[in-house]
């Protein structure tokens, strides 16, 4: 806990870090439209490619006649799954599911790429050619309703796949899982004695929770543009240029057996990712097509083809036993969860059981029996809005207990939250206590039981509370390099540049530690550079900033040493470069030692006499390099198995429900968050807002709608699948606690995933009207729950 291991981890004065309204180095590029994303690339003679997409939820191509399509003007190439070039393709992207053929003749969801790829002069021609294919389909039974798919007599959609999903190292002490049956694999986790726990209970409550699937919906549709060139400086070696598959040079290099140094990727802007790291086929195929055609090729998914899950559908049957004081004695979680199509990641299923919410409560009698159902609903990539959602089982449990006993839900949560070190730790969690204290003040918190408070306009008032640990995943190490050259401090990085502005937070730490003004730091984006701030989710900005903090201090020492060395070398220094600026006049540092100097506001000065100073640009003409490789100590989230709490966050919601119309209005969200230490304030605030707007969307608007008869998704577009707009979103009131308890830079930790939730609004609705409504709580569902429809 806390940044005790790093240089200046306990720094108290900050000039740059945490400063508001500091434009990012990349802000101007984004605001002016000059930021170039991969798909913006247009090259002379560029071709376009499109995949055949399945109109069926589950089908096999028996045969395909491509002759009419090949005869169409403008069609340049057509490949099928039977071509050797396709058979030889292997993906090295992050899929984290069972390995599957890169492309074959089986479609396991409507809209899946299957069987054929067309390359043509334009996308229009590709589409026309796809319509001219004579495809013989064998339509197979499908499962899009997982409650039907789990039944014993359901059609088994993947008889060849009998594996049980795992995540990470299996627990050697865990009993073996039951074998897969039909479409259902099992993942059961049991702690303590569940039956004994229920015997100790004064009350047993049950609730059926529904967690809808949720679209990841990153703004920039995935795809790529690729072309091959020869570099006169590299002999006969071919250079592969690929734009759009950002951060994926390594898997692309492996896939096409091209040395990494010969894979070029200039555009590092990658748009929103929201931790969806799955590499799509459109991002992988273009190098092959460009090689075959000898021309640049662009392949980009449409929006409709980009509606992958960020969250799997899950039905939860929760039973909870508790005492008359509100102490939980047993939790029984029986979940039926969508396993997705073949190759889906286990991240959103068994991965969530390991670090779930039940680790946070004192109760030791817990059973999680999960049925993971194969389906034809959609692909689940390695996607990030998963585990935090499951904390809402605890959100709901606390609400149930509070309503039953007439106790403030925050008190129920506090009673059941174990201490900061372990389940047996009786002490309060300091970060939780500080968040709650601030939260109550922020929200003017006055809890009331369900259906007891009306607003002046007659609508029911509801309120809810939720907490979670702020996680840092600790999975990444960092290779840092900083330079001093041409009078500037330079941070070279491969980026990438997405979502959370990770590099900017790192840059602020570098400026802080070297002692320069933020605007005097130059960030150099270059795909060849080793430093990337990406880590396991929140590691990105906080842990990489920790490593860069070490590197910055090394560079600072080098600069001070060099400034003295340069001063000492005069007037003997006779170097006069032929083709560059004359060297700067050295600072008044002759005969001093590095410890006599310091840097502040970009000025190197003599500590004993601050009037003796020069701007850092005049330190030395000598180029300097500092490197550091490492990472901060492992986080408590990882080492403590989810049982050790350092930084927490608490969320609050107030709603108004109109029982005549069924309309729900979120009056306001409250977010009191302890990120340990704020690095880049505006990014942090937007991350909080984003999580809350995600929460609003998935609880009031968003869900996939399937036609169960055909298995077709009916709303995979931005008209029918509604995302909140500026007029929809409620006020988010925020307050930040800087406990310095995280162990990344200056005690920071991450917050990004931990506030996204499925039931904060839903529990507030329950508090308003006294009945549960499944998300998304559309007016018709609210009225139905109230018995009015």
């Amino acid at each position: 806990m806390a940044d005790l291991a790093g240089v200046n981890g306990q720094r108290e004065e900050f000039r740059v870090v945490g400063k508001p309204n500091l434009p990012g180095v990349l802000s101007y590029a984004m605001a002016t439209g000059m930021a170039k994303f991969g798909l913006d690339h247009v090259l002379p003679g560029m071709l376009h490619a499109k995949f055949l997409r399945s109109p069926y939820a589950h089908a096999r191509i028996i045969s395909v006649d491509t002759s009419k399509a090949r005869a169409l003007d403008g069609v340049v190439d057509i490949l099928t799954w039977e071509d050797e070039d396709i058979k030889n393709l292997v993906s090295y992207g992050e899929h984290w599911g069972p390995v599957r053929a890169w492309l074959d003749n089986t479609a396991d969801q409507e809209g899946a790429e299957v069987g054929v790829i067309v390359v043509a002069e334009s996308e229009d021609i590709c589409e026309e050619a796809l319509r001219l294919l004579d495809v013989k389909w064998e339509v197979l039974p499908h499962v899009v309703n997982i409650m039907e798919g789990r039944k014993e007599d359901a059609f088994v959609i993947r008889p060849y796949d009998r594996h049980t999903p795992t995540f990470g190292r299996p627990d050697p002490n865990a009993p073996p899982q039951p074998p897969k049956k039909g479409n259902v694999a099992y993942s059961n986790v049991c702690w303590g004695d569940i039956e004994e726990g229920f015997k100790q209970a004064d009350y047993i409550a049950e609730v059926k929770m529904y967690i809808p699937a949720f679209a990841s919906h990153f703004p920039n549709p995935p795809g790529s543009v690729a072309w091959w060139t020869k570099d006169p400086y590299k002999g006969d070696a071919e250079i592969l240029h690929i734009e759009g598959a950002v951060r994926e040079r390594i898997p692309i290099s492996k896939m096409y057996n091209v040395p990494l140094e010969n894979v070029v990727q200039e555009s590092l802007f990658m748009g929103g990712k929201y931790c969806d790291w799955g590499l799509r086929r459109a991002q992988e195929i273009t190098p092959l097509l460009a090689k075959r055609t000898g021309r640049p090729v662009r392949c980009v998914n449409t929006r409709e083809e980009t509606f992958d899950f960020a969250m799997k559908q899950r039905f939860v049957h929760l039973r909870v036993g508790f005492t008359k004081e509100g102490l939980i004695t047993a939790i029984d979680d029986h979940s039926v969860v969508d396993g997705g199509v073949y190759g889906s990641s286990s991240f959103g299923t068994v991965g969530d059981q390991k670090h779930g919410p039940y680790n946070s409560v004192k109760c030791k009698n817990i059973r999680q029996c999960w049925e993971i159902v194969d389906s034809n609903r959609g692909m689940m990539y390695v996607s990030g809005q998963h585990s935090p959602f499951n904390w809402d089982c605890i959100t709901v449990v606390n609400q149930l207990i509070a309503e039953k006993l007439g106790k403030d839900v925050i008190e129920v949560a506090r009673l059941n939250l174990h201490g900061p070190t372990a389940k047996d730790d009786p002490n309060p969690v300091p970060s939780f206590e500080r968040c709650v204290e601030a939260g109550k003040k922020l929200m003017n918190w006055q809890w009331h039981p369900a259906r007891t408070k009306r607003l002046p306009d007659g609508r029911w008032h509801g309120m809810s509370f939720r907490y979670q640990i702020c996680p840092r995943h600790s999975v990444s190490g960092y290779m840092c390099k900083l330079e001093y050259r041409d009078g500037a401090v330079v941070l070279p990085t491969q980026g990438p540049v997405f979502g959370a502005y990770m590099v900017e937070a790192v840059a602020m730490v570098v400026a802080e530690e070297v002692g320069i003004n933020y605007e005097d730091l130059k960030i150099l984006y270059d795909y060849r550079e080793p430093f990337s701030p990406v880590g396991g989710g929140s590691d990105g900005s906080t842990a990489s900033a920790w490593a860069m903090k070490e590197c910055a201090n090394i560079l600072k020492r080098e600069i001070l040493k060099a400034a003295i060395e340069y001063a000492d070398s005069m007037p003997n220094f006779a170097f006069m470069p032929l083709q560059s600026n004359p060297p700067p006049e050295p600072g008044p540092f002759k005969g001093l030692k590095p410890e006599d100097l310091d840097i502040k506001d970009s000025m190197i000065y003599v500590k004993a006499d601050p009037s003796k100073a020069v701007h850092i640009s005049r330190a030395t003409p000598k180029p300097l390099v500092a490197t550091y490789m490492g990472r901060p100590p492992l986080s408590s989230w990882l080492t403590g198995g989810g049982h050790v709490f350092d930084c927490m966050n608490t969320l609050y919601c107030e709603v108004a429900v109109d029982e005549e119309t069924g309309e729900v209005e979120i009056l306001r969200f409250g977010a009191v968050v302890d990120p340990g230490k704020i690095l880049r304030r505006t990014s942090l605030e937007s991350q909080v807002d984003q999580a809350m707007f995600f929460s609003q969307g998935c609880q009031l608007f968003e869900d996939y709608v399937f036609d169960e008869r055909t298995g077709v998704r009916l709303n995979a577009n931005m008209i029918d699948y509604k995302k909140p707009t500026m007029k929809d979103v409620p006020l988010v009131e925020r307050d930040f606690i800087e406990s310095r308890n995280g162990n990344a830079a200056y005690g920071a930790t991450g917050i990004s995933h931990s506030m996204a939730n499925t039931h904060l609004v839903i529990t507030a609705i329950y508090n308003a009207i006294g009945v549960w409504v499944d998300p998304p709580a559309t007016p018709d569902k609210v009225l139905k729950a109230l018995g009015k429809a």
Binding site: L26, A29, A31, T32, G33, M34, I125, P219, Y605
Partner: protein, 230 residues
């Protein structure tokens, strides 16, 4: 107090320090260069169906008659974009979004929804914000089109760009140009919008990164500054 003035007296030959390529001045210059690179008159005519190159529209038309009979011949449309007239060769069904990217190299308008829902491709046509993904290029002839590049290149709008950056009204940055264009269209017709008016005007732009509250802050700050600057 240490500052450049009192530090290291007598030192006159300081080295110019390299700055980030992404400042207002540099991005504005990049935008101006992108506009400047658009040729006013077409001199090359690639066949959209087979990529053969011709040097007149007449030769291309003849090629269609000979090699692609029955197919619709592309036509030359004169567009007035960011204050500049330019010819583009398009097929009748081409959207303005497509023309901007694939004919003119203007990539500030972004493809997100591709059906008029998200606002990422917003441009201003004759003073009104318009979705370029659902506007046919052939309909734009004779109209005045402003893209984000035109706004970025115009010093008048520096306060708006500055305010967007100062308030960090962006995260991934993909949808941001669409918001900036909508904001400019709003300020053109309403130099002092209220927060509610801003929400109304920008409700057709979708951001998934949680930046909504920041746009109003940025636009109101820009409005004040532009008003003060006259």
């Amino acid at each position: 107090m240490i500052n450049e003035e009192n530090a290291g007296k007598g030192a006159v030959n300081a080295v110019p320090v390299a700055k980030s390529p992404f400042t207002h001045a540099s991005t504005s210059a990049q935008a101006a260069a992108a506009i400047g690179a658009i040729p006013p008159v077409l001199t090359e005519f690639n066949c959209p169906l087979c990529n053969k190159l011709y040097y007149s529209i007449g030769d291309l038309t003849k090629h269609y008659e000979e090699c692609h009979p029955g197919r619709v011949v592309p036509r030359i449309v004169v567009l007035h974009i960011n204050g500049k007239d330019c010819e583009v060769l398009v097929e009748p069904h081409w959207t303005l979004k497509r023309t901007l990217q694939f004919r003119l190299g203007l990539t500030g308008a972004k493809h997100m929804c591709d059906r008029g829902v998200c606002g990422s491709c917003t441009v201003i046509i004759d003073g009104r914000p318009v979705l370029s993904c659902t506007t046919l290029t052939v309909e734009c002839e004779g109209k005045s089109i402003t893209t984000v590049e035109g706004i970025a290149a115009d010093p008048k709008w520096k306060p708006l760009i500055d305010a967007y950056c100062r308030w960090d009204a962006m995260q991934c940055g993909y949808c941001t140009p669409g918001f900036v264009v909508s904001a400019k269209a709003l300020l053109d017709r309403n130099p002092h919008p209220t927060e509610e008016e801003i929400k109304e005007a920008l409700s057709g732009n979708i951001c998934i990164c949680g930046t909504y509250p920041r746009h109003a802050q940025a636009i109101m700050e820009a409005a004040l500054k532009m008003s003060a600057e006259g």
